[in-house]
């Protein structure tokens, strides 16, 4: 008679429940794929085609070629040409334009002098344009500024030859999609198990189990096993979606990523079990699931880097399973990391799973009394 008694019987029974209720199974498998697609398109910091108006007071060859060069950056989309700076300001205030480029009348002359390499060019100063940027949305503003950046030329500074690793195009999707996979998987897996024990309580079947010699761990782990399989299928399906829809390739080993998903899935399912031992009915289980998963989206490093998080919040984020899975996902998908790069996160997930399973098992005994 041991604590794992009845584990396989419970696992087989849970699979039968899933088979009897194909709608739930299909929803559980489809939700991550659908959410990934929707959120993946919505969360895109690569702002492009910012609406722009041009006030060209010079109307020279030089000013026209400058406008063409702005157009080719892809950051800006030139909507209209206006005749005065005042009109441009009005357009900004109305929200018709986020950026206004005002080219002064002497632009062509100064540009010609600068490129003409005459000694007097420096005395006149380089050609200048006035740029108005709507700063109310800082994501848009930061992107818009990039259209006007040019390398600073200061001969006293050493030349920094920057080599952008892993994500050379600086694409947000490369970084965000792996994180999104973690967040979505957590929501689905926690919800899966948080309902399972509560349902047994509501239907009275828990009473029948409690008079049997079933082991508490047998019941808990038996319930986790089939849902862990679903979780793995979900990992694979969102990775495929990420590749097809967002062109996110796994830089490292896909097999390793799937293997390292297992400790996370078990941790998340155990969190669901813990909720199950607290909630008295399915409505409570749902609310608790949301209560726990929503903040962890913000605190797992998915949106904001952990490095900038204030101390107490950082401590909390260290207790959230998805924080570590985020590091595993980004490590393998973006940086091509191997097991030896990621083992601290794996260890943390195993510790968290053990604690959660132990606490839920102990709490479960209390609910018997």
């Amino acid at each position: 008679m041991n604590a794992f008694n009845g584990m396989w019987a419970v696992a087989a029974k849970e699979l039968l429940h899933l088979k009897r209720d194909p709608a739930t199974l299909v929803i559980a498998l489809l939700i991550p794929v659908i959410q990934l697609t929707i959120f993946g398109f919505a969360i895109d910091f690569d702002v492009r085609h910012i609406s722009t108006v041009i006030v060209d007071l010079d109307r020279s060859t030089e000013s026209r070629s400058y406008v063409d060069s702005l157009r080719t950056t892809d950051y800006l989309q030139i909507k209209r040409y206006l005749t005065s700076p005042e009109e441009a300001e009005d357009a900004m205030r109305r929200g018709d334009a986020r950026v206004a480029v005002i080219i002064p009348p002497d632009f062509g002359r100064r540009a010609a002098l600068t490129s003409g390499a005459t000694p007097s060019a420096a005395a006149h100063g380089p050609a200048q344009v006035r740029v108005l940027i709507d700063g109310s949305d800082n994501q848009v503003a930061i992107r818009a500024r990039m259209a006007f950046l040019r390398p600073a030329v200061d001969p006293t500074l050493p030349e920094a030859r920057i080599n952008m690793l892993y994500n050379p195009d600086m694409k947000t999707t490369t970084f965000m999609i792996p994180g999104l996979i973690g967040v979505i998987l957590q929501l689905v897996t926690v919800a899966l198990t948080s309902f399972s024990l509560v349902r047994e309580r509501e239907q009275g079947t828990l009473e029948q189990l409690m008079v049997s010699p079933i082991g508490r761990l047998g019941l808990m782990v038996g319930k986790v096993i089939p849902y862990a399989l679903i979780g793995l299928v979900e990992v694979v399906s969102v990775l495929i979606m990420g590749r097809i829809v967002f062109d996110v390739h796994v830089a490292g080993s896909v097999a390793l990523l799937i293997l390292l998903s297992i400790p996370f899935i078990i941790a998340a399912l155990s969190l669901g079990l813990l909720i199950s031992t607290v909630a008295q009915n399915q409505a409570q289980a749902l609310q608790l699931t949301l209560l726990i998963t929503m903040p962890s989206i913000l605190m797992s490093g998915f949106m904001f880097p952990l490095d900038t998080m204030p101390g107490p919040l950082y401590m909390v984020s260290m207790a959230i399973p998805v924080t570590y899975f985020m590091q595993i996902l980004r490590g393998v998908v973006v940086r091509g990391a191997g097991f030896y790069d990621l083992w601290p996160s794996v260890l943390a997930l195993i510790v968290i799973s053990t604690i959660l399973l132990t606490v839920s098992t102990m709490r479960f005994r209390k609910t018997l009394a």
Partner: protein, 312 residues
């Protein structure tokens, strides 16, 4: 040999004592009827005997195992059937039996044999592939009984097994219980039905957390508290039962009056004359006929005992 031995069993929840110093034995092979009003402590007692709840004080053994120290052995050796259907509604009869068999450690041929045996006993063979949620109330209870028996326990607890099922299914279930008792199994049954209590080989009556009386149905009916010296019970036939009962209820000679089928059961003083009773009824326009002395029924036993205790 006793299947259950209870010695001073007590359970408190805070300041409330749910089970108070209970002591009794249940003989092996008997059908023990555990009776008492709702909230009297029956369920708490069963939960302790099943090893679900630790007693505050006192001891008990079930099938020779201590309910605290050997609760796992207790669980292995008992079956339990609750009043609410507590099997998986979305699983078939076969799947439910397989699951519970496996939980009790049965597998392979042993599981197959145990299922065949129990299916033959309760006669549920025709419904093996039916989802249990789609069964009628009576078949649901038979399935629940089958699941409780799948591992061959010597002792089965049945908590109001016939609540809410039709009379035919009730009779069938009791026939099954008799068959089980005939095979030497001990049955510990709670019920509110008096005809079911009559069928038990022994009855324990719990009231306000205490065991009040215990014995065979005949022993209980002969209790002095139920038929105090100087009283008698008579049955009077009537064609107007409701009016007759109303007429008799508040007479000075009436100690207790109730209606059983179309007869009034009246408890009264020994010296009360049948003619006086009949005259009272006739005067009220609800004539009675053929008065005859009767022994108390089990219902009389429990009603009398409960009223006496409630007054104290």
């Amino acid at each position: 040999m006793n299947a259950i031995q209870i010695n001073g069993l007590t359970r408190r929840f805070g300041s409330f004592t749910a089970v108070d110093n209970l002591s009794f034995n249940v003989a092996k092979g008997s059908i023990f009827g555990f009776l008492g009003p709702n909230g009297s402590g029956k369920s708490t007692c069963i939960r302790m005997l099943c090893g679900l709840l630790a007693p505050t004080s006192g001891t008990a053994t079930v099938n020779g195992y201590d309910i605290v120290r050997e609760s796992e052995q207790v669980k292995m050796s008992i079956g339990y059937m609750s009043q609410a259907f507590s099997l998986y509604r979305d699983l078939s009869v076969d799947e439910n039996l397989t699951f519970f068999g496996r939980v009790y450690g049965l597998k392979g041929d042993a599981l197959k044999k145990a299922k065949e045996e129990i299916v033959g006993l309760v006669g549920i063979g025709a419904y093996m592939d039916r989802r249990s949620g789609e069964l009628s109330g009576g078949w649901k209870q038979r399935l629940a009984l089958a699941a409780a028996l799948i591992h061959g326990p010597e002792l089965v607890f049945l908590d109001e097994p016939t609540a809410g099922i039709d009379p035919v299914a009730r009779r069938d279930l009791w026939d099954l219980l008799f068959e089980l008792a005939g095979k030497g199994k001990t049955l510990f049954v709670t019920t509110h039905y008096m005809d079911e209590a009559e069928r038990c080989s022994e009855i324990g009556y719990i009231y306000n957390s205490k065991l009040m009386v215990r014995g065979t149905p005949d022993e209980l009916k002969a209790l002095p508290d139920v038929s105090p010296a100087g009283t008698k019970r008579i049955s009077i036939g009537t064609h107007t039962p409701a009016a007759s009962l109303a007429a008799l209820r508040h007479q000075p000679f009436t100690l207790d009056a109730t209606l059983v089928e179309s007869e009034i059961h009246l408890m009264t003083q020994n010296e009360t004359l049948d003619e006086d009773v009949l005259r009272t009824m006739a005067d009220a326009g609800a004539p009675g006929h053929d008065p005859r002395p009767i022994a108390p029924s089990l219902e009389d036993v429990f009603v009398t005992l409960t009223r006496r205790l409630a007054k104290q």
